[in-house]
Amino acid sequence: MFQADTPAWIIAPVVLPLIAGLFCFLFKRRIFIIALAAALANFFVACFLIYQFLVFGSMRCYIGGWQPPLGITLRADGPALLMLLMTAVTGLAVTLYARGYFSCRIADSERAGRHQRQQRYFWPLWMLLLAGLNGLFLSGDIFNLYVTLELVAISAASLAALSGKPASQRASFRYLLISLLGSLTYLLGVVFLYRTCGVLDLDLLRNLSGNGAGVRAALALLTVGLLLKTALVPLHFWLPPAHANALAPVSVILSALVVKGSFYLLFRFWFELFSPIVTQAGLNFMGALGAVAIIWGAVQAIRQQRLKLMVAYSTVSQLGYLFVAFPLSRAVEGAQVWSIVIFIALTHACAKSAMFMVAGSIYLHLGHDRIRDLAGVRASLPVTVFAYGIAGVSLMGLPPSGAFIAKWMLLSSSLVSGQWWWALVIVAGSLLAMVYVFRVMSRFFVIPEGEPLKKPAALSPLLEWPALILALISLSLGLLAPWILHILSQGTVGLVRVFPGGLS
């Protein structure tokens, strides 16, 4: 019934977390086991789907057996599968980390009840968010994408408010309103598209959309809606407070995964669905916003006094790189465009999760995250500090991280096409990243004066090792580059590039 080439496997990454989310909500005990099982299954399914994709090619699953234009199609191509894998890997690490995090907080008896309650609601929300994200990456229907966007937005906003601090709730309220505004703008764009083309399926839309004013207006609306959710400067104002005030595992999820979801859609629209009507001016505009984001976010990150806020502003800065890829995509070899974005996204997902995990662990350990007072952490949390260093190196884009590969491609295409100003921005951005990463790093090396008053207990390995492993993955992504390129070049038309050395 289920052969290796059955397209129905595609729905597993959506359905498994959904069911897990339902059970996590229903049951009281062993929630973690359910969530862990789902995260593990999700990871294996993602791996299997990639295997399936490599063997049998791009898959399409018509839900209910109804073909487009009526039915909804799920499709698994290279970029979608890589995003899926990114989510699965990060998600697995977050699941483990969250377990350690909540156990550690519950062990502190003063507020055990509140922390237990947070844990109780964290798991179903996280599982449903995971399902929503997977659905987003796989969906091939523009209205279904709206529903998944809402699924992601609601669960993300609830997660952001989970910590119960007034600041986090204010930030979460603002986040909810912003993502609602984004969703509605997106929906208006969908209405424009439906009015023009009369179909909702992405593949059909690509053929039908043409070059009318309606399609342009739809693209503008979809873009604005998704930009709000992606937090590109100047629409980034909601992100730092929401990400910095949430619980540590939630910050990881929001920063590493949620913003990627809307960006992924945006990129799909600009380079697949609407590529005929996208103009160089539009691409340059997006690139300019990205350049401003890189510099502005990094400068803000340098100015922060708290570790979590610093990491959050670094997200603002790193998202800029994704947009600088826009104008360079067409510059030389249009084929490279997905690979640049995918490398940045994958590296950032792993490295940023590791960083937020580190920030959370340090917060648990010290009771604060003031950058000035981080002395002595190195002695008590060596693994965590090591993870921070490696994640920081990946964010700076030093070789052999995935970001280095992306930076290489960006620089190369900007220099070849003579748009050297992007190269300047990229180099300046990575130098600024060096400043904010090492501003914290150097504090770790300060040897504290006198003995600390009480030696805090060591943290559980669940809090330290997932961060290190993610950081190592992000650093070694550059070495996995041929494999990633192979996946990207397999199905996407126009991405086929002959690899000189041969891959098999």
Binding site: G65, L70, A161, F192
Partner: protein, 242 residues
């Protein structure tokens, strides 16, 4: 005295600046909407939409109402996720806050009680009817669920004492029932027919009704609990009623 007038002046200035900003923004929004309106009205409408596609497959869908066919058959996946969104809202609300304790001072007048006693069963009936007629007329799980939810709101407003003693686990089960039945059916179809949500031939009508009934119950409960505005008192759920 002088400082006082200065402060007043500053406040007025700030007001002026804000007013200017508001005006500017108003003009901006106006122009944006005018632009969108112009574009929208100039879109040439030469596509048939999906009406003909739906009409041609209507007989295969197992129901007569086209909207229900789209909702629960052609685009059932959307509806599945949407039911999840509803559930998610409840989880989100529960994670935020406890349901407010009943206000002991409010007295329910006997007239209101009477109205509630009368209305609630009628509304349940209407809801059941709406779900039933959803297969061929307007109506369906959402409408039925909404009426059920309204009945729940009515009960909540009238502060019936037994409402507070409903165990949280029952509520959780009720909330999950609809989505679970939906996913269960979808998966069942997957295992029997090889496609998610592809109802086996001839059973579509009944399966849709089954899903709609379960979903209507859950949606009604969801809406009522959203109105209740917070998580239930969990200690009740363990049976030790105070």
């Amino acid at each position: 005295m002088k400082t006082g007038t200065e402060i007043m002046g500053k406040i007025r200035n700030r007001h002026k600046r804000r007013d200017a900003f508001q005006l500017l923004f108003l003009i901006l929004v106006f122009f944006l909407m005018a632009l969108l309106g112009t574009i929208f009205s100039t879109i040439p409408v030469n596509n048939p939409g999906l009406a003909s596609a739906v009409a041609s497959l209507q007989t295969e869908s197992g129901v007569e109402s086209p909207v229900t066919a789209v909702l629960l058959n052609f685009r059932g996946y959307d509806t599945l996720l949407e039911v999840m969104v509803l559930l998610l809202a409840v989880i989100g609300v529960w994670s935020l806050i406890k349901a407010p304790a009943p206000d002991p001072e409010t007295e329910i007048s006997p007239v209101q009680m009477g109205v509630v006693r009368l209305l609630a069963p009628v509304m349940c009936l209407v809801a059941a009817y709406l779900v039933w007629q959803g297969s061929h007329l307007a109506g369906g799980a959402f409408q039925g669920g909404a009426i059920l939810g309204a009945a729940g709101v009515l009960l909540l407003v009238s502060e019936l004492p037994w409402l507070r003693t409903v165990p949280a686990s029952v509520l959780r089960f009720g909330l999950v029932l609809g989505p679970l039945c939906f996913i269960g059916t979808a998966l069942g179809c997957l295992f029997l027919g090889g496609e998610l949500l592809a109802y086996p031939e001839g059973t579509a009508g009944w399966l849709i009704l089954f899903i709609e009934t379960a979903c209507a119950l859950s949606i009604g409960l969801t809406l009522a609990l959203l109105f209740a505005g917070g998580r239930p008192h969990e200690n009740v759920s363990r049976g030790d009623i105070p």
